[in-house]
């Protein structure tokens, strides 16, 4: 009875959390500083998000109180560190709604997670003449590992094209699928265009042909609800540092039966059950894929980042960021000589743009002097730049702590760029 009461209270407390932007901004100490004499306007969140104080504190707390190597020690500190480390895994299980905790594998980041699948599942299952499908808007991290695998195995890499708005052309995707398709790997959201891909449909279609699907969730995990069971994703990868957590940690979700059938990725400690001079047997999931001492401190602090997201709620975050995106899109569209690259109907808070006759690097230098951090360049999507016949863009990407006032400062900054290069 008592437990039930607590639960009700907790639920009420959750729903009563008001999206308090002032409070949120206070939680991120880095935001409160001047850059080149101007208040920092941080709009490079697609590259990396800032960290709330709770995450920063969690890292020091780990080193100050429980630092020890995990899983092996019998002493108290090792046990405490192990418990905390495994608590992050359990938290991620619920964050992505995986069925089993051991379906959550820790990696260095999204890139390593994708490489892990290519090197294990890929090498084991993709043969000469087989086909792998990716899309035209993939980050190099979700392109190069497959090019490498295709090169090694003699498989064929096919590309789902996009329309001018930056949306995948699903009709064309259907035509690419056939019984030779072994793997489909697409982004949940595009890092350059912001496009949210219809991954549930993409996965469903692939499964009809017996192909497995990896979703690169790097740009989605902080902004969209991730439910791997609802998506029926075979693999889902994302990075801690893009969801307000520390750098150097990533997550690979994989369906248990797939992970169990896959060979290990790297050899070493932790991933083995027994080693003799003649050979070894490997450990159970998830440790089979986690050779060597992992990034313990940052993995533990990642839990705090997820707690932070959960505190405000994914839905509230999504609604707020959507409002900022809509406002920014309207404001930027009104600037003469500015063209937005990526106008999909469904987008995360990313706006790429080009300025008439002005190199993106020039724009970036001037904006930086105004205290505005945007990313300029090809955003690790060179083939996509080719698709739009541009060498690069300037990109503003939003997180839960950005405000409409900051969008206004960006607009003033862009107008200044226009004046200076006129």
């Amino acid at each position: 009875m008592e437990i039930k009461q607590d639960f009700v209270e907790l639920k009420m407390k959750e729903s009563a959390t008001i999206f308090d932007i002032e409070k949120i901004r206070k939680d991120f100490p880095i935001l409160h500083q001047n850059i080149n004499g101007k208040p920092l306007v941080y709009l490079d969140n697609a590259a990396s998000t800032q960290k709330p104080m709770s995450v920063i504190n969690a890292i020091s707390a780990y080193y100050m109180t429980i630092n020890a190597n995990i899983h092996r020690g019998i002493h108290t500190l090792s046990e405490k560190a192990t418990t905390e480390y495994e608590l992050t895994r359990a938290t991620i299980r619920s964050f992505v709604n995986a069925k089993h905790t051991e379906e959550v594998i820790f990696t260095k980041g999204t890139t390593e997670a994708i490489n892990l699948v290519a090197a294990t599942y890929g090498r084991q299952n993709v043969k000469k003449g087989d086909e792998i499908i990716i899309s035209a808007l993939e980050h190099h991290s979700n392109m190069v590992p497959w090019q490498m695998l295709a090169g090694e195995t003699g498989a064929l890499l096919k590309i789902i094209p996009i329309n001018d708005a930056g949306e995948l052309i699903i009709e064309d995707y259907k035509k690419l699928l056939n019984k030779k398709t072994k793997l489909v790997s697409v982004a949940h959201a595009s890092n350059t265009l912001g496009t949210i891909n219809p991954i549930k449909e993409i996965i469903g279609l692939a499964h009809e042909h017996g192909a497995k699907v990896l979703i690169d969730g790097a740009q989605a995990a902080a902004h969209l609800i991730v439910d791997v069971q609802d998506f029926d994703a075979d693999f889902y990868a994302f990075s801690s540092h893009k969801i307000y957590g520390p750098t150097g940690v990533g997550v690979l979700y994989g369906k248990k039966e797939l992970l169990e059938a896959m060979p290990p990725y790297q050899g070493g400690g932790e991933m083995i059950k027994e080693v003799t001079y003649e050979g070894f047997t490997y450990n159970d999931l998830p440790y089979k894929f986690e050779a060597g001492t992992p990034n313990i401190a940052d993995t533990i602090a990642l839990k705090t980042a997820i707690d932070y997201i959960n505190y405000w709620g994914k839905e509230a975050i999504r609604n707020y960021e959507h409002e900022i995106l809509a406002y920014a899109t309207r404001k930027l569209s009104a600037i003469k000589g500015l063209r937005i690259i990526g106008e999909a109907k469904e987008k995360v808070g990313i706006i790429s743009f080009v300025l008439n006759g002005i190199h993106h690097q020039d724009a970036g230098i001037i904006l930086d002097h105004e205290g505005i951090a945007v990313r300029t360049g090809h955003h690790c999507t060179q083939p996509l730049m080719g698709r739009y016949k541009i060498s690069g863009t300037s990109r503003a990407s939003f997180a839960l702590y950005n405000t409409k006032e900051e969008v206004d400062i960006l607009v003033d900054g862009i107008n200044k760029v226009m004046r200076m290069f006129a």
Binding site: N36, H359, Q361, D362, T376, S391, K416, F421
Partner: protein, 141 residues
């Protein structure tokens, strides 16, 4: 004029600007004024690889001195290229090879030579010196 005299003149010019945007405005003007490099030199052979902007550098030897033409698709970098050409072009190979380019720091543009800017400018300075060293060897052999 020696390399250092030209640098000192440039430092003097820049000391007249109070605001960063005036300084950049001037560099942008220099970038716009720098004649475009002949298309025949805008090839990979003359390209200095940078991550975001492209820089081309065409050196040639005349009467024992090295001359440079250069270009970039980004205007600020092109303006800085224009300054580098003004300082180094027309000097003897050994003078260029040994030049201490202190003007960048003095005019507050040092950050554009840093590796993180990945704009090819640092590689360009290195390339200019490498050409100078190569020509020195060529002239003495």
């Amino acid at each position: 004029m020696t390399i250092n005299e030209t640098q000192d003149n440039i430092i003097n010019d820049f000391s007249l600007f109070d605001e960063w945007d005036e300084k950049y405005g001037y560099i942008i003007e220099l970038g716009k004024k720098l004649p475009q490099l002949n298309e025949e030199y805008k090839t990979d052979d003359y390209k200095i690889k940078g991550c975001q902007s492209q820089v081309w550098l065409h050196p040639y030897l005349q009467d024992g001195k090295i001359f440079f033409d250069g270009d970039s698709d980004a205007i600020i970098v092109k303006g800085l290229v224009s300054l580098l050409i003004k300082i180094l072009s027309g000097h003897k190979p050994e003078e260029i090879a040994n030049a201490d380019l202190y003007f960048m720091e003095k005019i507050g543009m040092q950050q554009h030579l840093s590796i993180t800017r990945s704009n090819g400018l640092a590689s360009m300075v290195k390339q200019m010196k490498l050409y100078a060293i190569a020509y020195t060897t060529k002239l003495t052999s």
